[in-house]
């Protein structure tokens, strides 16, 4: 009975385009996202950037239906509001900024949770589910941690485990909310390189929010800037990440440099001439 219910279904592996069409989100009487229209071709990497409170996280939460919104969100041309909850979970996997990892769960069991949308209503994992999970853990070099409790792992390892859960979902679209916020520079790049190579291997469409402009400029092939809920710029990194725009929306002076591959590095300069914000920071 459960074997039939949990049988693997064909999964759309074709790159899926993701698009937002006039998306508006109201939270607590305030418009957090205002009429955002944006699309990423299948297999692309979009980074949504913007200052704190710009609505980045809220915008990508519309993808999973975690917030109510006006307008349309489409994956592979299909409106996500028109498909079943579980169906959507087979289209898109999310790595949240603050994943809630149950204390005491093993790496394997945690990664296996990604198979949930492929299982029957009793959520009993099939042999195939376990195979997929083992494969993903192997691909992410997590073999040695299979039986370890997730909370005993380091920050970088844990981030890979959460990524593993998203990958076992076997979705064409991968969404990551600030995937590097608690990692040191080395692990940041390691995780992002991993995502970059997985994207190519699996033909994934990647949507991330990122704080670090250089990281966004080098890994994404499309950057969209949100400010106060509105989309203010959208395009390839070299066109979007320019000193004038950074100055306007982040209020800082920055230099940008474009490398041979079209990646952009942003160097931020300290505001020496502006007034210090707090008294404590006042220079002698």
């Amino acid at each position: 009975m459960s074997a039939a219910a949990a049988a693997p279904r064909p999964i759309p592996t074709v790159p899926s385009e993701v698009s937002f069409d006039g998306v508006t989100v109201e939270l607590g009487g305030r418009h957090v996202v205002k009429d955002v229209t944006l699309s990423i071709p299948g297999g692309g990497w979009l980074s949504v950037i913007g200052p704190n409170g710009a609505g980045k996280t809220t915008l990508i939460r519309t993808l999973s239906g975690a917030v109510r919104y006006l307008g349309d969100v489409r994956i592979g041309g299909i409106k996500t509001s028109s498909i079943h909850h579980r169906e959507r979970a087979r289209c898109l996997a999310i790595v949240p900024q603050h994943p809630l990892v149950p204390i005491g769960i093993s790496t394997f069991d945690y990664a296996l949770l990604g198979r949930t949308p492929h299982q029957g209503l009793r959520f009993s994992p099939s042999r195939h589910d376990r195979e997929v999970t083992a494969e993903v853990l192997h691909r992410l070099d997590l073999d040695e941690f299979t039986h370890r409790r997730v909370e005993t792992l380091s920050g970088g390892e844990r981030q890979r485990v959460v990524l593993a859960r998203a990958l076992t979902q076997e979705t064409p679209v991968l969404v990551l909310d600030e995937p590097t916020s608690f990692l040191d520079v080395g692990h940041q790049i390691e995780v992002l390189e991993l995502i970059a190579s997985l994207r190519v291997e699996r033909n994934l469409t990647v949507v991330t929010t990122l704080h670090d402009l250089s990281v966004a400029g080098q890994f994404a092939d499309q950057v969209a800037v949100l400010a106060e809920g509105k989309k203010v710029a959208d395009g390839i990194p070299a066109d979007v990440l320019i000193p004038a725009l950074i100055a306007r929306h982040w209020g800082i002076e920055a230099d940008t440099a474009v490398d041979d591959h079209g990646g952009v590095t942003v160097t931020v300069r300290r505001r020496r001439k502006t007034k210090p914000l707090k008294k404590i920071e006042e220079p002698i």
């Binding site: 005491g104 009993s124 042999r127 195979e131 083992a134 192997h138 691909r139 390691e190």
Partner: protein, 361 residues
């Protein structure tokens, strides 16, 4: 990392199915069943008239389908076994199962280790219901059915319903903590009412207290039959939800992104667990500690997956309470100790021992 290709990604596939995903596992199931059987035999053979446990075991086996053995018990002993002790022990098993199982479920849906079946006001509601029935003189056994459990059951469900209704606001998703707080408020309110009623009828104070402290005294099989349907439905419902509870452990947002409907799951599990706990409380009074300690003890030794926690809480919860009842009726024999005293007295040190062992590892 960037140069690793797809060449070796299938290497581990062949060993995958043997990997340790948390399942119930035969070992645990056998352990739980043995605990229940032990509790049954010890419970039935212990009492003012001692009956040899071996014979009790045979007598009980004889009642199982397809098994026929001669226990060698006299007719008098058989009467004691089947009319006096077995109903009480089985009631203990059922009540313990319901309290521990719904405790585990409550802890699961609220992701809160301090949750227990009384969290949403079941205890206070049942207390008020029972007190009202007792002070109004309905509970003197004149009617066909004893109104105290009925009133307690209704009171318990009303309290949960009140907490549930008060915590929902139209069109907005309230966090689970709102429900807990509503439960606390409802419980305080019902307790206040109960205390008021109780103080106004000082002559029934003893009876009310006896009920509140919890007991498993029975008159034949009535209480067992009263509780059995709820026990079956609730255990079944909770066992069906074990997979969903494991997914829910990652939080509402993430569970939702995995295709689950967290609020629906939470609501269904709470309804089932509350029904079971309310039915248990209705026949046994307020027995504390079981719903909190048994699931935690299970979790400490068998891991956090609800695939183990729920079934094992049902089994060990039953065994624990049945054995606690043996202590309750023998320690001060012929007088009875309130069973809640025993559950706390045995449970707390036992729990601490497991906790220490676990943290030492």
């Amino acid at each position: 990392m960037s140069d690793s290709g797809e060449t070796d990604s299938r290497m581990t596939a062949s060993v995958a199915p043997s990997l340790g995903v948390s399942r119930l596992g035969g070992r645990w199931l056998v352990g739980g069943t043995l605990a229940v059987a032990t509790a049954l035999v010890v419970g039935v053979s212990t009492g003012p008239v001692s009956i040899p446990p071996g014979r009790v075991a045979l007598e009980l086996l004889d009642r199982l389908p397809l098994i026929s053995v001669e226990s060698g018990l006299s007719e008098g002993q058989q009467a004691i076994v089947w009319n006096l002790r077995a109903p009480r022990v089985i009631l203990g098993l059922l009540v313990g199962s319901m309290l521990a199982g719904s405790g585990a479920a409550y802890q699961g849906v609220f992701r809160n280790p301090l949750a227990d079946p009384y969290l949403l006001g079941i205890a206070a509601g049942a207390g008020l219901g029972a007190t009202l029935a007792i002070v109004s003189g309905l509970g003197d056994g004149l009617g066909i059915i004893d109104p105290v459990p009925v009133a307690a059951f209704v009171g318990a469900l009303l309290a949960v319903l009140a907490a549930g209704t008060l915590s929902v606001r139209r069109g907005s998703a309230m966090p689970p903590s709102t429900l807990i707080l509503a439960g606390v408020a409802v419980a305080s309110f019902f307790t206040a009412l109960q205390t008021f009623v109780q103080q106004r009828h000082a002559e029934t104070l003893r009876q009310v207290f006896a009920w509140i402290l919890g007991r498993l005294s029975t008159a034949g099989w009535d209480e067992v039959l009263l509780l059995l349907p709820y026990a079956v439905v609730c255990s079944g419902g909770m066992l069906l939800a074990v997979g969903a509870l494991d997914v829910l452990a990652v939080g509402d947002d993430e569970a939702s992104s995995l295709g689950l409907r967290p609020r629906t799951v939470r609501r269904l599990v709470l309804i089932v667990a509350s029904l079971g706990a309310a039915a248990a409380v209705a026949v046994s009074g307020l027995i504390g500690f079981v719903g909190l300690i048994v699931p935690h003890a299970v979790r400490l030794v068998a891991g956090i997956s609800h695939r183990r926690v729920i079934p094992l809480s049902l089994l060990f919860g039953g065994a624990f309470l049945a054995l606690a009842d043996v202590a309750a009726r023998t320690v001060q024999s012929p007088a009875e100790m309130p069973i809640g005293v025993i559950t706390a007295f045995i449970g707390a040190p036992f729990f601490l021992a497991i906790l220490r062992r676990q943290t030492a590892q």
